[in-house]
């Protein structure tokens, strides 16, 4: 973040900073994380639609009081594939995690095909999707071959 962005939101002492979220996706990311702002002791700051040399425009989230787990970072990558995650303790960056979209996603996404066996038999099996394209991010159902596009993934997870 540059000085101008820093001026918008103060540093956090303990928690997570999620940078390089596609502009307009911050609220989806918040929903993906289970709306942590509703929890006692958690403070969330959103910076939306700021300039970015890497992305043009981007969103940033600062979540005070929550450290993202690896599982959450992997899910985050599905709707914010360029995001970088900084775990903060005592105002210092303890760990950096890049949100890399996984090659295979199990049990997280749902197929949109009404007649796909992963939908009809969802009580007994988990969905499995493999990445069909990294840009635009597209996942293909292992069972019926249908694709999920970025919007569909965001609407399921966000």
């Amino acid at each position: 973040m540059n000085d101008k962005e820093t001026m918008l939101v103060q540093k956090i002492s303990d928690g997570t900073v999620i940078d390089h979220v596609s502009a307009g996706k911050a609220l989806s990311v918040l929903r993906l994380l289970g709306n942590p702002q509703n929890r006692e002791g958690v403070t969330v700051a959103l910076v939306m639609n700021v300039g970015s040399s890497k992305m043009g425009r981007k969103d940033i989230l600062k979540v005070e009081g929550v450290e993202l787990t690896d599982d959450q970072v992997q899910k985050l990558a599905l709707i914010a594939p360029l995001a970088s995650v900084n775990i903060i303790r005592s105002y210092r960056v303890l760990e950096k995690k890049n949100a890399v979209p996984p090659k295979t996603v199990r049990g997280v996404l749902s197929c949109t095909g009404a007649t796909c066996v992963s939908v009809r038999e969802k009580d007994s099996i988990s969905s499995v999707f493999t990445m069909a394209s990294s840009s635009p991010l597209t996942y293909r159902c292992k069972y019926c071959g249908r694709d999920l596009n970025e919007q569909e993934i965001a609407s399921q997870l966000g």
């Binding site: 007649t115 066996v117 071959g145 694709d147």
Partner: protein
Amino acid sequence: MGRDAWYGRDVLSILDFSRADLELLFDSADSIVDQPVRTKKSLAGKIVATAFFEPSTRTRLSFSAAALKLGADVIDLSPDVSSLLKGESLSDTMRMLDGYADLIAMRHPSEGAALLASEVASVPIVNGGDGSQHHPSQAMLDLFTVKRLKGRIDGLNYAVLGDIRYARSAASFLYGLARYKPGKVSLVSPESLRPRNEVKDTIKKVGLKTEQHDDLESIIADVDVIYMTRIQKERFPDPNEYEKVKGSYRITKGSLANAKKGSIVLHALPRTNELAYEVDSLPNAAYMKQARFGVPVRMALLDLVLGGAKK
């Protein structure tokens, strides 16, 4: 390789098989057609289960007939009188059958059902149709019919006609053609019955070049194999959409007047009104022979997968 390439394998999609695999199957089916009286019961002691969760005439009966001719016993799961009515999952049902049979031939209305079955069962699964996705043994017998009647599969011009959106037989036939070097492959269908995105992607991925046409008339003089499909009424999410396209294409004696000499008409059957009964008497009509080839091709398939041919 050779026969070992088939032994113990699931048959989920024709895309899982190479040209050499298919040629081996066809050679074996040829020998069965040419020597119909078999004294050797190569699958004696084996049990083949049929599990058809969707109506079937030819596929289920020809798998049963094929198994019986090879000396295997056949058990049949009837979904309408089984524990599926009590809400048993497909996974549990297939796990149970896995313990009762040496091979399971199945059909299910959901795409991916055969793949799921193969994940929970240790015995080979033969996909007799899963939703609108795959029907490998149909494509194998379709290609065998072309080879048997036309002498080759390479270099011929094909027209796949009708419901290419939902007909798994059409998609599987196209995937099978991709293993060969066909001439022109034309897809003839109204806009709403053109291939789904995942089928288009697969056709592109396997390197099959196709041309889209709105009518058969303009290309029929150049076509060697006309592959007809029934409009899959049961797979339309909206019945109104079916009403709009039903009867949108039909093969009659008249529509074959300009057909290329020696061309053949295939149809996986059953037919509704898209294929007039008056065509049956024309030399082009090959669909009843095609249906009969279901038994020798499935005999060859069962023999290769269960290893009967190795004895």
